[in-house]
Symmetry: C2
Subunit: 324 residues, 2 copies
């Protein structure tokens, strides 16, 4: 389903989602300055980005508000302090994790909230809980995505069963999530084929969230858009957990819709992202993430390796290869 | 022509070519220590790499030997000082540039040389000179590749004409070279289709040499192998001009032929490549290379930007977008 001869055209249904605060927040415990967040918001508007994800709606019962920046909780008032009434084309999203979000209380009616989209993140084995969250968010008036995480470790038959259940809910978008950065473009094509079957059956849209463990986050994202996937996650400078995500500046340079303006993405990277790196916030492709990606493992061992500032990569290789 | 369901298998005709000294030499003027080169040679043997490119056969009339390390000239005696009689499975290659190599004199008969393969690098507008070099090298007993550079800037009809001429020579391998790192996997697929036509017609093999300007060197290389391309260039830590090349450690982790041993690649990166970086040798993906790649331009402006240690990326963007 590649759009081989259509690289010069664009598909108006394609949407770009900036996940810098949300996935990037995983590497700095969500401690972004308000100046950074405001500049990011302004950049997204100027660059033509379609959605900006502010962070997680994490339960304040489960997580100590003193141990994280505010975007782990993404309270409506904090969002409003940045965006006001958000009279722009940029829509606002938050992520709600199954089992870690007090959604009945913390997600209020859309009519009273600056948020436009709720993205429900689930594993294959928590689909019924995700369904409950999806129904709650849809009833409250939100656009709803369902991000099925870690599918590279799941069974294809379970994935089909999950999509068939989700198809019957009011969810708007099914997301392919390569949590471990282990998938190759050929596998994205196959997965997009499966997702497309159910998207067609139930009238849903598709999205992709890629990780850069094997330097394939951008490649997998453009593979997916060629396969009919419309919602594309990206972060400035690839900022995100471990090896990070698809780089916004690469993606906006690739997409041909004239509403996207890569210049503003480059300017933001120059002024803000490179400063974050210089200040010592660490993310991005490195050997330890490559190895867990190649082995289709959760990156937690690689994140630990990074935190400990280890450089004995070959020793680490022996550790992760031997894991069972 | 993707090998969608064959990711678990391998094609025995696939060859891995280590181009670290040759393309990497472009960023340190070929000043590698003998210790480095010996360790690289030993690593390639242990890792199961098929070919090791030592460097260029540059003309000593045209280039001052005092201004470059020895691998710009790759004299047979210097190679022999590293490899002895090279009684191993690792074959030795050198690159000969059209117009910059005194091949009649500097490339001797294979029977008297440690070199196995001569890779002739040409542009589309110097094909007749390349043909002369190919015939010379083949007559002397070498395996011969022809690397057609900068094809992202060429006309498809010229490329077809060139392949039709080259097909009639004794060249063994046609190389797709993405000199500017500007090609997307979909374009690699199309180009591989054109190359395959002529490879089939004349009984030639195909190769790919990718650059990482858009973080697509690895993605384009695995796209190509799925499209029937057998000779795959890679460098340790992606070391190469500008944004560098396809990383050896990514490629060996992807290929399923059990003769490839990624552990030794990781060990070499840990012990040698990271040291080079720490010593201040600069290469690899960065915004300035992304921009020239996106714009399908020669990276020379980006290399200059890097040399001048500029960080005004958005200013640079305005400079390169305006180029004509």
């Amino acid at each position: 389903m590649k759009e081989l001869l259509n690289l010069m055209e664009y598909r108006p249904s394609v949407k770009v989602i900036d996940a810098t605060l949300r996935d990037g927040g995983l590497v700095n415990d969500f401690y972004f300055t308000d100046e950074f967040v405001k500049a990011l918001y302004e950049t997204n508007i100027k660059a033509g980005v379609d959605y900006m994800e502010f962070g997680y709606k994490a339960s304040t019962e489960m997580f100590d508000e003193n141990k994280f920046g505010k975007w782990k909780f993404s309270k409506d008032d904090d969002i409003r302090a940045i965006v006001g009434d958000n009279n722009t084309n940029l829509k606002i999203s938050v992520m709600a994790d199954v089992g870690r979000c007090d959604y009945k209380n913390d997600i209020i009616n859309k009519a009273d909230s600056p948020i436009d989209v709720v993205r429900v993140a689930t594993y294959l084995n928590t689909i019924p809980a995700a369904v409950d969250m999806i129904e709650d968010a849809a009833k409250k008036g939100y656009e709803v995505c369902c991000n099925i995480m870690a599918i590279s470790n799941g069974q294809e038959s379970d994935l089909r069963a999950a999509l068939d259940i989700l198809g019957k809910t009011p969810v708007d978008v099914f997301y392919i999530v390569d949590s471990y950065g282990s998938l190759y473009p050929e596998q994205i094509e196959r997965l997009a084929g499966i997702y497309s079957e159910f998207a067609a059956k139930y009238g849903k849209k598709l999205g992709i969230h890629a990780h850069n463990n094997q330097q394939l986050a951008f490649a997998n994202t453009i593979e997916a858009v060629g396969d009919g996937v419309d919602w594309l996650d990206a972060t400035y400078s690839s900022m995100g957990r471990g090896a990070g995500n698809c780089a916004m500046e690469l993606l906006l340079g690739f997409l041909k819709n004239p509403k996207y303006k890569p210049y503003y993405a480059i300017q933001f990277v120059e002024q803000y992202m490179n400063k974050l790196k210089a200040e010592g916030v660490v993310w991005g492709y490195d050997l330890q993430y490559m190895m867990t990606g190649q082995l289709n493992q959760h990156p937690r061992t690689a994140i630990q390796f990074t935190k400990e500032k280890r450089t004995d990569y070959s020793e680490f290789y022996k550790e992760v290869v031997a894991q069972d």
